[in-house]
Symmetry: C2
Subunit: 264 residues, 2 copies
């Protein structure tokens, strides 16, 4: 029974996130329906992890098994014909059945894009976020200084308890909640790049907590606009309290950029 | 009573076109509602022309009068706060009341963007249209050769009867239909540019018929894929028959780029 690894990109704007939910349009649900439509088989494609409503993916990974024997290029082409243009299959390959999009993943990289209405304090006129860009950025109303943000981003590198940056997960059942999740995470990349009228925050590590990237970006923005200073990051980490950090940045700016697996 | 000229940009994906329609979300209707919300006044902003459902604008122009005295920068800022991010006011100015967005216009420029899955016949692998680009292009399944398209585009320059490229307008009433519309139009720009993985058709002239740009692009694509040859354009123009030309290209690739007015 062929086991599949698909790499896919999606515009999350019109989806209620990755995970299948009754009565709502999700990426996982749309993919399952399309596979059923093409093969008659009922499968639930596993993702490398969930993405929330409005969050995008440049290269999400999914795995599943199918009874049908389909050449990879044919499955890719058939899926791209049947799926909405907001979901594209970038590659399809048959992999050993030990491969699991989530369990086999050893790292993930996210990118968060902030549109800057102003560059620096000297500019008086505000740039207007083009409507064609709006679904893919945070159109931030504040004047952000990238330098303290970069200084703060570096303080997040390495291993820390990220409880202050973790959302309470509304999807966890009471039983799951009693098990304390492991809130100690390691970041191996955490950097801000100023590119044209955007700030791009790139973050990479073996694992992330729910809303962690958006909560980091919301906090970096507080630093960028001067409401907090870079060394507040240390205090916020030590507080192990969500209320110590900044607000959650909007979903629209977040992209799952890539998922890493061991070389085979 | 201040008379206004606004330049606005919009992502037409989620709108049922420019023109106000009962029970449907349109650009004109959204703008009218937002002006009412901000000022309490009921106005119907006039556009330089309608755009169809899914068609975008880089710089549409609208005009209307308001009782309220509002500094232009304040009206612009208030509108951009209250409007959805898919509509942005790029400029707002008070103009003489003789200005009318449609009647005063002396020319319009449109841009049509085609995503090329392949460049040339030698490429075997298809490029995949990124989901983030899909709402703003025609993801064309054919391999298009830009050279005959450019040759054909040039044959459209100047003054012709464009009946073969005009849609029957479903919005016209029976009474309006009995008046024969002027199907003779003049194009002063009609050119194809090959830019990275896109073909961009730019067309400019004093006036256009309904669906004219999309019908021209649909016909140019027939030429680009080899189903027609450039000199067929002359035959199609002379036929004065919609069925002589190619199909209507999708709305998603079309942008109203700019509207020209006499220098004041």
């Amino acid at each position: 029974m062929p086991h599949w690894k698909l790499i896919l990109s999606y515009d999350g704007t019109t989806f209620h996130g990755w995970q299948v939910q009754p009565g709502l349009t999700t990426i996982q649900g749309t993919l399952a329906q399309t596979l059923h439509h093409l093969t008659g088989e009922t499968v639930l494609p596993q993702g490398s992890g969930r993405t929330d409503a409005g969050v995008h993916a440049l290269a999400q990974v999914t795995s599943f098994s199918l009874e049908a024997n389909i050449p990879p290029e044919n499955l890719q082409r058939a899926l791209n014909r049947a799926l909405p243009p907001s979901i594209r299959i970038l590659s399809a390959e048959i992999v050993p059945e030990t491969f699991h999009a989530r369990h086999s993943a050893i790292g993930k990289t996210y990118e968060y894009r902030i549109f800057l209405r102003r560059s620096g304090h000297t500019e008086t006129t505000e740039r207007i976020c083009p409507p064609f860009l709006a679904p893919f950025v945070w159109d931030c109303q504040w004047n952000l200084d990238p330098e303290p943000m970069q200084e703060a981003a570096k303080l997040l590198l390495g291993t820390h308890d990220f409880t202050s940056f973790a959302a309470a997960d509304p999807d966890l059942t009471r039983r799951q909640k009693t098990r304390s999740p492991n809130t100690v995470k390691m970041l191996k990349v955490s950097t801000i790049l100023h590119k044209n009228e955007q700030l791009i925050y790139t973050v990479s590590g073996p694992g992330f907590l729910h809303h962690m990237v958006r909560n980091i970006v919301g906090t970096l923005a507080e630093i960028g606009r001067g409401a907090l200073i870079p060394k507040d990051i240390t205090r916020i980490l030590e507080a192990r309290d969500r209320s110590a950090a900044g607000p959650t940045a909007p979903a629209s700016g977040l992209f799952l950029q890539s998922v890493d697996y061991p070389q085979t």
